[in-house]
């Protein structure tokens, strides 16, 4: 019995110790299973998205964007005016009798002004009686004047206040503008240094205003089309120029890992995770890291920062050139 306990105890201890050592030495890592993220939106949200932007200016009908307005051509009136048609005359018809002109009798000339009226009336020589000063009336008048003065003052103060407010608003506006200008300075500088002849794609007609209008049935809000993974993919796709030489090499996949800041910019350098020996891999890796560097800042929802803080992308161009 005792030996049994001993063996049991030793056995337990051994197994536990072995389990501790062997399992903790190789921690079991669970690969986070990729979940398909989906944006769940309510019916109201959907209708709002398709309805267009709430803050958009209301337009009665979609305004086509045109840079050049062609000459407006009046449609030809298919029906000629009846009166324009020449009058049909037959040989037998009597020539129209000369209509007697409706001569109005000359209007009687205005009667000559009687000479007596022309003469100036003799100036009145009678002196007017001077009014007596009335003290009560005088006081009332003063009161009145005072009141008027006050009202005037009040009015002026109001006006001044308004002017001040307007001035302030104007100043605020200007400051805002200055700020905008400042933030755009780099862009403007770049634009100024750009000495290319200005080019402009002119559009005549047919292109419909792409700005959302209130209540258009075909409104397409950008949020609806893609979730954030799709957005990230689309951004990277547009930045990535896969080199043609790489497209021919089979199974040349470059895995790049990078971390992002909350504003979507890169924090640190993108890192190539896998390795390849030949120069072709190097070129593929360069093109992949270039794509990541070019693409920053990524436009991603800041509220889900945790989800895209660390990104690992497999750049695989094989499908691209064989489609």
């Amino acid at each position: 019995m005792r030996t049994g306990y001993t063996i049991s105890a030793i056995g337990h201890a051994l197994v536990l110790a072995w389990g501790l050592v062997s399992f903790s030495a190789k921690p079991f890592e669970v690969e986070p299973v990729d979940s398909v993220s989906a944006d769940i939106i309510s019916e109201r949200e959907l209708s709002e998205l398709t309805a267009g932007s709430k803050t958009a200016k209301q337009v009665t009908k979609p305004v086509p964007v045109v840079d050049k307005i062609g000459e407006v051509k009046e449609p030809k009136d298919p029906v000629q005016k009846v009166s324009d048609k020449p009058e049909v005359r037959t040989a037998t018809a009597q020539p129209p009798a000369p209509s007697t002109p409706d001569v109005k009798p000359p209007e009687p000339k205005p009667a000559a002004v009687p000479p007596a009226a022309v003469a100036d009336p003799p100036p009145a020589t009678v002196a007017e009686p001077k009014p007596e000063p009335d003290p009560i009336a005088e006081a009332l008048k003063r009161e009145e004047a005072k009141k008027k003065e006050e009202a005037k003052k009040l009015e002026e103060a109001k006006k001044r206040e308004e002017a001040r407010k307007r001035e302030e608003a104007r100043k605020r506006e200007e400051a805002k503008k200055r700020e905008e200008v400042k933030s755009d300075l780099d862009r403007i500088e770049t634009a100024l240094l750009d000495k290319r002849a200005p080019q402009r794609q002119t559009v005549t007609g047919s292109m419909v205003n792409p700005t959302p209008s209130l209540g258009s049935t075909t409104g397409n809000a950008p949020q609806l089309s893609q979730n954030e993974l799709g957005m990230l993919k689309a951004q990277l796709m547009s930045c990535w120029n896969p080199p043609v030489g790489v497209s021919e090499a089979k199974d040349l996949v470059v895995t790049v890992r990078f971390s992002l800041n909350r504003d979507g910019s890169l924090s640190g350098e993108p890192m190539v995770v896998n390795r390849g020996r030949n120069t072709l891999f190097q070129i593929a890796a360069e093109s992949a890291t270039r794509a990541v560097r070019r693409c920053q800042p990524f436009r991603l929802p800041a509220s889900k920062y945790e989800a895209w803080q660390e990104v690992e992308v497999n750049f695989d161009p094989n499908d691209m050139f064989h489609g």
């Binding site: 056995g11 337990h12 197994v15 536990l16 389990g19 501790l20 062997s22 399992f23 903790s24 190789k26 921690p27 079991f28 890592e29 669970v30 690969e31 986070p32 770049t190 240094l193 750009d194 000495k195 290319r196 002849a197 993974l229 990230l232 990277l236 796709m237 930045c239 990535w240 120029n241 896969p242 080199p243 043609v244 030489g245 790489v246 021919e248 090499a249 890992r257 120069t279 072709l280 070129i283 360069e286 890291t289 270039r290 560097r293 070019r294 945790e306 989800a307 895209w308 803080q309 660390e310 990104v311 690992e312 992308v313 497999n314 750049f315 695989d316 094989n318 499908d319 691209m320 050139f321």
Partner: protein, 464 residues
């Protein structure tokens, strides 16, 4: 998923180990199970790794890569012209390739004044240049030209390549082509093709009295040289691997013959002394022999002749027209056109002759097969319903793809890197043929500048 299977294998290992150490009673098994469970719990408590967003990107932007090529600096004012010339040639080459979009110089912010220091990368990022090429041309004391260039990765802020070349000033075009090849190869991972030449048949005069001259030029259309005077009709010129010799078919007074022409010495000679018309010649990849068709009666067969020993070997013996032979780059196989099955089709056989295998099975007839220098594709002319198309297919005849279609496209020839196909197009009527290039993707069709009408192009290997 891998880790889970690893887990289960781990667990089964522990069980089998246990059964060796202890008698397998139900109690012990329970103990072992509990221990394994405990171990697993301990293992789990290691904590999950930080969540990483992982995904595959299978699509990229097929737009050409924006590249900035400011004029090369000149060591002295007298070199200004060649310096500017070199950067212009590089710009034109890269642009024509369809894989690069050189940025207008007027957009540049930084003015490069020294090629030995790093450029101001933000200035080049601002105009969205992905790569930047700077260079300098200086005259050496011995009169030679020194051209150097550096290729910068604008977003990676590193130098990708840097090289210098010495040459006589007249060679500045070739230097520009060699630098273009370097840039192309460094950025695409594919060999370039700019330092190469084209031989073709230049056609002048009226439609009834066409003068056809054998002509050679650089791949970009510069440096045209007439090799024959137009007294005889010339057809199907082909380069030797060394690019110094050309074989072609010509007929003046006598019967059509295959000739050999040395571009350095301007000498020409007849290949072999055959009873009958020889045509459609081509060099073997080692340049030692010439393969051609020999007409005998109503049909023609393929022969190969050693240029040194003049020994001739018959490769086919059929009652059909076998013609347009072309070797695979390793010289082990030959593709050719034959009407042994009724209509002209493409066949492949061993370089030593023997049975041939038909590879083209589409509608219409196939002719002028040519093997890609990379060895993976065969380009051809496909004819059917009044249409002449240029296409490519795998060497097994699969994955046929038509690159261009229309009235009278003919005679494809591959660029040295196998990415571009040149052919000629004759619209008919009073117009004459001209040369075109197209990518093997079917994109980027471009006319090749030639002095007058041109046909039957053949692309040389890389000169360097």
């Amino acid at each position: 998923m891998d880790d889970q299977s690893g887990m289960s294998s781990l667990r089964s290992d522990s069980l089998s180990n246990g059964s060796v150490n202890l008698p397998l009673t139900r109690r012990n098994a329970m103990i072992l199970g509990a221990a394994a469970g405990f171990g697993a719990v301990v293992g789990f408590s290691g904590g999950p790794a930080r969540a990483v967003l992982r995904f595959d990107l299978n699509q990229g932007n097929v737009q050409p890569m924006p590249i900035a090529l400011p004029d090369f600096l000149a060591g002295s004012p007298s070199d200004g012209e060649s310096a500017r010339g070199i950067s212009q040639i590089i710009t034109a080459n890269l642009k024509r390739s369809g894989l690069f979009a050189p940025i207008d110089q007027a957009a540049f912010i930084e003015k490069i004044t020294n090629t030995d220091v790093q450029p101001r990368y933000p200035d080049w990022r601002a105009i969205n240049a992905q790569a930047l090429v700077t260079g300098r041309v200086t005259r050496q004391a011995d009169g030679r030209l020194k051209a150097e260039f550096r290729l910068w990765d604008v977003f990676g802020a590193t130098q990708l390549a840097g090289q210098q070349y010495f040459s006589i000033p007249d060679n500045f075009r070739r230097i520009a082509h060699i630098i273009s090849d370097q840039i192309y190869e460094r950025l695409t991972g594919e060999k370039g093709y700019f330092d190469s030449r084209i031989v073709f048949v230049d056609e002048t005069g009226s439609k009834e009295r066409r003068i056809k001259r054998l002509t050679m030029m650089d791949q970009d259309g510069a440096g045209v040289r007439y090799l024959t005077n137009g007294g005889d009709l010339v057809l199907t010129p082909r380069f030797s691997p060394s690019s110094q010799e050309i074989t072609y078919m010509s007929f003046g007074q006598g019967e059509p013959r295959v000739y050999l022409f040395n571009t350095e010495t301007q000498q020409r000679e007849i290949v072999g002394n055959f009873p009958g018309m020889t045509f459609s010649p081509r060099f073997t990849p080692d340049g030692q022999r010439v393969i051609m068709s020999l007409q005998q009666g109503g049909n023609s067969n393929l022969f190969v002749m050693d240029l040194r020993s003049k020994a001739t070997t018959r490769l086919t013996d059929t009652a059909a027209i076998d013609t347009a032979p072309c070797y695979s780059p390793d010289g082990s196989r030959i593709c050719f056109e034959s009407d042994r099955g009724g209509r002209p089709q493409i066949y492949i056989m061993s370089a030593s002759g023997g049975p041939a295998q038909r590879i083209s099975f589409g509608d219409g007839s196939y002719s002028t097969p040519v093997w890609s220098p990379r060895g993976d594709l065969i380009a051809f002319t496909k004819q059917g319903q009044g249409n002449f198309a240029i296409g490519i297919m795998g060497i097994d005849g699969k994955a046929e793809r038509i690159l261009t279609e229309g009235y009278h496209n003919e005679g494809p020839t591959f660029a040295p890197n196998g990415r571009v196909v040149m052919f000629f197009r004759d619209p008919g009527g009073n117009a004459g043929p001209s040369l075109f290039t197209i990518d093997i993707t079917g994109r980027n069709e471009l006319k090749v500048p030639t002095p007058s009408f041109a046909s039957d192009p053949a692309w040389s290997p890389l000169l360097a």
